[in-house]
């Protein structure tokens, strides 16, 4: 089954994937806030995050991950569309968004526009 593999070391933070996603899902409209993929920035690095399942309640304990000497907010990398976080929620209707692996045969628009190889379609 094909999957999207994310290699954050290659991400340049150009957000072309966000534009691609919103163009593909909302006709003739570009708005990164309506995209099902968002690029998070932490210090010097960028992390693409693909929208996952909807949860109707926020986590009770907020997680932090420590890698080396840097502390990362787990919320930023969480794929869920949750009430705590204003991401992956359609701003006008409030409907939660989730990646639908668009394109037939699966050739997600974000992967096609990602030129650096940070997003890659892999079979396994």
């Amino acid at each position: 089954m094909p999957r999207i593999k994310i290699d954050h070391t290659k991400c340049t933070g150009c957000r072309h994937c966000e534009a691609a996603c919103s163009l593909n899902h909302v006709a003739n409209t570009v708005n990164p806030r309506r995209a099902r993929i968002r690029v998070m920035r932490d210090g010097n690095r960028y992390y693409p995050v693909i929208a996952g399942p909807f949860v109707d309640a926020a986590c009770t304990s907020k997680q932090y991950i420590v890698i080396g000497d840097q502390t990362y907010d787990m919320c930023a990398f969480c794929r869920a569309s949750c009430p705590q976080k204003p991401y992956f929620i359609e701003a006008e209707t409030g409907i939660p968004l989730k990646c639908d692996f668009c394109g037939i045969p699966p050739s997600p628009s974000c992967v096609r526009w990602c030129n650096t190889g940070a997003l890659e379609l892999v079979e396994d």
Partner: protein, 597 residues
């Protein structure tokens, strides 16, 4: 409206009021947006003879119609004002994500008028526009300002999506060398603009938005972009050189052709081994960073190899390496990196700052002034004292504050105006015009002073992408310069970047523009818009007192042949090419466009 938003925000800092105006469709189609629209509005509203630092001057931020739509490299926002360094119209290109965010906030253009009494920050969050007291940010570096502003927002989610453009201490002190810095470290590249913003007491502009942009024909637009990305990937310059090293890859090439100037344009041969891309690789761990929707990602960040760069450093570009480095006799890449980073933090323009110091260094060498008098040992090749001097001039501290007035003012104050290597008050970008004739003609005629980004003829003269031209030849260069100047005006107006032209033809842009905007432009229509914009700028400058006499280069390039290197013995032939250039532009022999345009 497709592509465009059609809304203009006008903020008056004197009384703190703002209003939203509708933009006329005819005006948008005639001037596109970005540089074109901004220049048109500025020329209509602002008297050419005002003092740039007075409240009558306006500061215009204008995004192009393709910005934020996902059109490749559609990211740039142009800043238009009257520059305090050159006294001409100034138009600087802001890269990064600010331009796109401005569109998402619902505005094509922001016009800032008047002058605030106390320091303020303009915050635009969709329709919520307000002026925030900026006293606690005053005196801080650009990176600190951004960090503190985001911290003060409380909500980390909003902070993540807020983009900021600010001035550093240099702009606050009204230094003519100052420019703006956005997205933490991207230099906006227009000297003198920072001082205008500083005079208005405006520390920063912050934007965040969540509006949608409309595209005329989404499915065609997506197809066109897929093709363009493939085209960029099959071109060696855009897919490899630019992506890997940014513009710094030009250093080696320019060196081989004798274009890279050294010691204030008095030599082109470098007695150095450590130039070029390999040295860059070993001095910095490179990491690409893209402006909005950019498949090339030519901005290179220094990863944490050196602690001094941690989280903020940008690997020096060709401009920084040439201007701050080799032209000042400095060849240590990590020292150049530190200087380029300092320029970003202090809000100084690297080209103007480099040219400024090269002038001082030649003054010292010619014994017009002694290091004892300056109280700082500035001389060719002395990196440490130059780093120190950059700090001193930007905060106007110490004796070195005299040195921050721009190369022209300094050379005139010592009665040696002939050693200033610049046109219209701006220092030359690091291309020796004797060894690349077309660029020389562009430097002499450019409305904003000698900056290569307003007419990148080196794409054909040096890189031979579309045409195989000899840089030393003068034949056909006038039409080349005109074509590239018009192209740059259109590309800036659309809000695109110029680097894809290293792999694409200008014609390749046309389907992207039409499918996005729903228009029927042909390539020639767009180029004639470019010519119209160029003429408006020219007429504005002429009203401000510039004439044919300013379309020239420093005397050194006509009198002193290049003494060494591959282009040895060459002088500049600008004066011979100028009449042909005027004729091609349809101007009079005195270089005056018809005033009715």
């Amino acid at each position: 409206m497709n592509g465009w938003i059609g809304r203009c925000l006008r903020v008056n800092l004197t009384d703190g009021k703002h209003q939203v105006e509708k933009l006329d469709t005819d005006l948008l189609e005639k001037y596109l947006g970005g540089r074109g629209l901004g220049v048109k509005i500025f020329a209509d509203e602002v008297d050419p003879n005002i003092d740039p630092l007075s409240p009558e001057n306006k500061l215009i931020f204008c995004s192009g119609p393709l910005v934020g739509t996902g059109a490749i490299t559609g990211a740039s926002c142009n800043v238009i004002t009257k520059s305090s360094l050159t006294q001409t119209l100034a138009c600087a290109k802001m890269r990064g994500h600010f331009g796109a965010e401005l569109k998402y906030a619902g505005f094509d253009i922001v016009i800032i008028e008047g002058q605030s009494e106390a320091p303020v920050i303009l915050s635009i969050k969709d329709d919520k526009v307000k002026l925030i007291p900026g006293l606690e940010y005053w005196g801080r570096s650009t990176a600190e300002t951004e960090e503190l502003f985001k911290k003060n927002l409380d909500d980390p989610w909003i902070a993540r999506e807020t983009y900021l453009v600010s001035i550093g201490p240099a702009g606050e002190k009204l230094l003519p060398l100052a420019n703006l810095v956005n997205d933490r470290f991207l230099s906006v590249g227009g000297a003198g603009i920072g001082a205008v913003m500083g005079a208005k007491n405006l520390k920063a502009v912050a934007v965040k938005g969540q509006h949608s942009l409309q595209v005329a024909d989404g499915s065609r637009f997506v197809r066109v972009i897929n093709t363009l990305i493939n085209k960029l990937n099959s071109a060696p310059l855009t897919s490899q050189s630019m992506s890997q090293w940014g513009t710094a890859f030009l250093v080696g090439l320019c060196y081989q052709k004798g274009i890279l100037p050294r010691n204030n344009f008095r030599s082109t041969s470098q007695p150095l081994k450590n130039i070029g891309t390999e040295a860059l690789n070993s001095a910095f761990a490179l990491r690409g960073r893209g402006c909005f929707a950019c498949p090339i990602a030519c901005i290179k960040k220094a990863d944490v190899k050196y602690s001094v760069f941690e989280g903020k450093g940008m690997v020096p570009t060709y401009l920084a390496i040439g201007s701050l480095g080799f032209n000042c006799g400095i060849s240590d890449l990590s020292a150049i990196g530190v200087m380029s980073m300092l320029c970003g933090e202090m809000g100084l323009d690297p080209v103007a700052t480099g040219g400024n110091f090269a002038t001082v260094m030649e003054l010292v060498e010619k014994k017009a002034v002694t290091p004892e008098e300056l109280k700082i040992d500035i001389s060719f090749g002395n990196a440490d004292s130059m780093i120190e001097a950059i700090r001193l001039i930007s905060t106007k501290k110490g004796y070195a504050r005299r040195l921050g007035q721009g190369g022209m003012a300094i050379s005139e104050s010592f009665n040696m105006p002939e050693i200033f290597m610049g046109v219209k008050g701006l220092s030359l970008a690091p291309f020796d015009p004797r060894a690349i004739q077309g660029m020389g003609l562009h430097f002499a005629t450019c409305n904003y002073g000698p900056h290569h980004l307003y007419g990148y003829t080196f794409i054909d003269e040096l890189l031979n992408v579309h045409e195989n031209l000899d840089p030393l030849e003068t034949q056909g260069k006038a039409s080349l310069v005109k074509r590239y100047q018009d192209t740059s005006a259109v590309v800036d107006s659309l809000g695109l970047c110029n680097w894809p032209l290293m792999g694409l033809k200008f014609n390749n842009y046309v389907p992207m523009v039409n499918s996005c905007l729903g228009t029927n432009y042909k390539a020639d229509d767009l180029l004639s818009i470019g010519e119209r914009i160029w003429n408006i700028e020219r007429i504005y400058n002429m009203k401000a007192g510039f004439n044919m006499g300013h379309d020239t280069l420093p005397e050194r390039f006509f009198k002193e042949p290049i003494p060494d290197g591959p282009a040895e013995g060459q002088i500049s032939h600008v004066k011979e090419m100028l009449p042909e250039y005027y004729q091609l532009r349809g101007w009079s022999e005195q270089g005056e466009p018809g005033l009715e345009e």
